[in-house]
């Protein structure tokens, strides 16, 4: 058990979950109080001791399934009295498989909640359709795909809905509930299938290799420029705490613990209670600056996925802070704050913005120079000495004028300016990227391509105490 546990901890670390030595020892100690035969108890024990972040539970469960989560491998012997109809069992009718009769058996097993029968059905489906060959270097996904091609899941869903629906005249709400129930049952089939295939792969290649093949990037390491829909959803869930953190960080002026200046009047007043001894010094509460955030967001085509992410971040920030202004630009710039107020649904706001906002002037290719100049001309008062400016964009200017004077004017007025660029650093200033024309003026320029990088930025984003004297950044421009 201990050696399996050690291997498992190694696997978690390989995925990127931080597991400390102490936690691994805790897990080993906790196993003594765990019923090892009950898989879910073991899952709870290892989860509670090893993985301390909700975002990592997906990866934890994937690895757990490989190391501890599976039924003993091998097709169970179909016997005559276990409820398998003829043609259902392994081998029988193999090759004939349109999968038609199988569907009805699946519906029966799922509706009846018969886990054992479901397992046998899936196992026989894998026997018949997956065509697994030992030693073949193919991932589990491929086999699952081959099986699912033969089991018509859409048809299965339809039959399940038909079987669940008791009364055909029920309203839309009932229909929705039945559909969701049916979907979760189909999901059971998929999960069982994945387990079955993983189990067989483990028998073939061993745990470590299967676990390594099944690894997915953690939420914080997902590349935001190429994220899938479900990945984006997970990232979105993680954004809120981050936005809150950013909001408080930008609001902080003093270190915690310092109480502000001595309040002489209240101290003397207080001292009257103990004979004029100044026992209990009173302090004025520190003045907390009310942070203002101005976000300039490139929403051109090349930035589409990333822009959606930054807009999501913006939306989350505006729920935390009262004073947030958002400007979107492509080759023109427009104030889009009103589309992202907390009482507007995010997706609707995004759609309305792309329809109504005045951000395309010419051809719809990014023009940073024009956008910054326009910003300076049209909204000069939007940036004040209290505002923190955050620019998100790849600085790919399509070989147009950089407009760095306008940008430096904006920066000069702001309290601080940060630039978040989703491109890898090594691509900056290649081709039509003009990052260095702007970076000299900024207080910070960060590559933000993953949630982890954004977290790092938030962690470090401290404001300069006062606007530092800006050296003209022409020297930077020179190179």
């Amino acid at each position: 058990m201990i050696s399996t546990l050690a291997e498992f901890v190694d696997e978690l670390r390989a995925v990127g979950i931080p597991v400390s030595m102490v936690e691994a020892i805790d897990a080993a100690g906790a196993i003594e109080y765990t019923d090892l035969a009950a898989r879910d108890s073991l899952r709870a024990t290892l989860g509670a001791t090893l993985v301390k972040n909700l975002r990592h539970y997906g990866a934890f469960n994937r690895a757990f399934d490989v190391y501890f989560g599976l039924e003993p491998v091998g097709s169970p012997e179909p016997s005559m009295d276990d409820g398998l109809a003829p043609g259902e069992g392994a081998g029988v009718g193999a090759g004939s498989g349109s999968g038609e009769d199988l569907l009805d058996s699946f519906v029966d097993a799922l509706i009846g909640g018969d886990g054992g029968r479901l397992r046998r059905l899936v196992s026989s489906a894998v026997d018949r359709f997956a065509g697994m060959q030992p030693g073949r270097p193919v991932g589990g996904k491929y086999y699952a795909y081959r099986v699912l091609r033969r089991i018509d899941t859409d048809e299965l869903l339809a039959r399940l809905i038909a079987a669940l629906s008791t009364d055909p005249s029920t309203g839309e709400l009932d229909g929705r509930i039945e559909r969701e129930q049916a979907e979760s049952l189909v999901q059971q089939v998929r999960e069982q299938l994945e387990q079955e295939i993983t189990g067989r792969l483990i028998a073939d290649r061993g745990r470590q290799q299967v676990a390594a093949n099944r690894r997915l990037p953690l939420v914080e390491d997902v590349d935001l420029m190429h994220a899938t829909r479900s990945e984006i959803e997970e990232v979105t869930r993680a954004i809120r705490p981050l936005a809150r953190k950013l909001a408080t960080r930008l609001g902080q002026r003093r270190r915690h613990g310092s109480k502000g200046r001595l309040d002489v009047r209240r101290t003397i007043r207080r001292s009257l209670g103990h004979g004029g001894v100044l026992l209990d010094p009173q302090f004025k509460p520190p003045t907390r600056s009310k942070p203002e955030i101005v976000i300039l967001c490139d929403v051109s085509g090349s930035m589409a996925t990333f822009a959606r992410f930054t807009m999501q971040l913006t939306y989350a920030i505006s729920a935390e802070l009262a004073r947030v202004r958002v400007f979107a630009f492509i080759d023109g710039i427009d104030d889009v704050t009103s589309y992202f107020s907390p009482d507007i649904d995010f997706v609707e706001g995004l759609i309305a913005m792309s329809r109504e906002a005045d951000i395309v002037r010419r051809d719809g290719h990014s023009d940073y120079g024009r956008s910054f100049t326009e910003m300076w001309d049209r909204y000069p008062d939007s940036v004040t000495s209290r505002s923190t400016v955050i620019v998100t964009g790849d600085a790919r200017n399509n070989y147009r004028d950089t407009g760095h004077e306008a940008f430096e004017n904006l920066v000069g007025r702001s309290r601080a300016t940060f630039w978040l660029n989703p491109e890898p650093r090594r691509f900056w200033d290649t081709g039509d990227s003009v990052m260095s024309s702007y970076s000299g003026a900024c207080d910070g320029v960060e590559q933000v391509r993953t949630l982890r990088q954004l977290e790092d930025f938030v962690e470090r984003a401290t404001l300069p105490t006062a606007r530092k004297h800006r050296v003209a950044s022409h020297s930077v421009l020179g190179n």
Partner: protein, 294 residues
Amino acid sequence: MPADWDSPADVLASLEDVGYLADDRISQVVFLAAKLDKPILAEGPAGVGKTALALALAEATGRRLVRLQCYEGLDEAKALYEWDYHKQLLRLQSDEGAQWDDLEGDIFSEAFLLERPLLTAIRSQEPVVLLIDEADRVEVETEALLLEVLDAYQVTIPELGTIEAVTRPLVVLTSNNTRELSEALKRRCLYLHVPYPTIERERAILRARVPDLPEQFADKIARTIASIRQIPTRKAPSVSETIDWARTLLALGIDELSDAATVSTLNVLLKYQTDIDRTAKELGLDVDAGIESG
């Protein structure tokens, strides 16, 4: 009664006795916490019963509950201990002419110490349940205050030395995950994510908390809630809101979830107008039906 459970099933049963329906995961982690003397860090959305877990543990074990409510700006003097300056001053004044050495030893003794929740939990002769509620509200720097207590169950007071726990408290920290707690804190705890309950568990909770609710109707409500939680809203309905909703429906004499009934009571579940509008739209509810009946 101390927390001398024999198995997670034991935990489950004793929590159920006091009206808290745990699941296997929760009971396993509570069991571990009792056996390994480790704090539980319960994290999850608001209103799923994290604080209720601590209350139920106190009731089930018959221990006193010591509660530290966290907030921004919480400091040592409010969480650990404070010297009673006024009393110390009186002591000094009442005894003029005494030797300074005697006095110093005297005024920094336990008689002049004001206990705050963490010290109370440590010094209690009877074992207690210590609830540190909404630990994510304090600043990162303040978290460090908790570490010594959670790690070694002791408090160090410079003038007095280290006070060790007489009895080991059962500690529950809760967090709504508005920010990440520090690694140092998490490392010392058993992590327990409390998600929204499954349909079956929510139905059981409804049956336990609203006994008048017919079984069928409870099932329907639980399924509808699960469906609403699928819709991306700003604030998904919590368990307590589900219970409120069930009570509201009962009080109104509604025993079937018609469009009209759902629309006119949706504001019990959802607290933002955009959420209500969106949910009504997604569920395909006829909004006008609600206006007629309301």
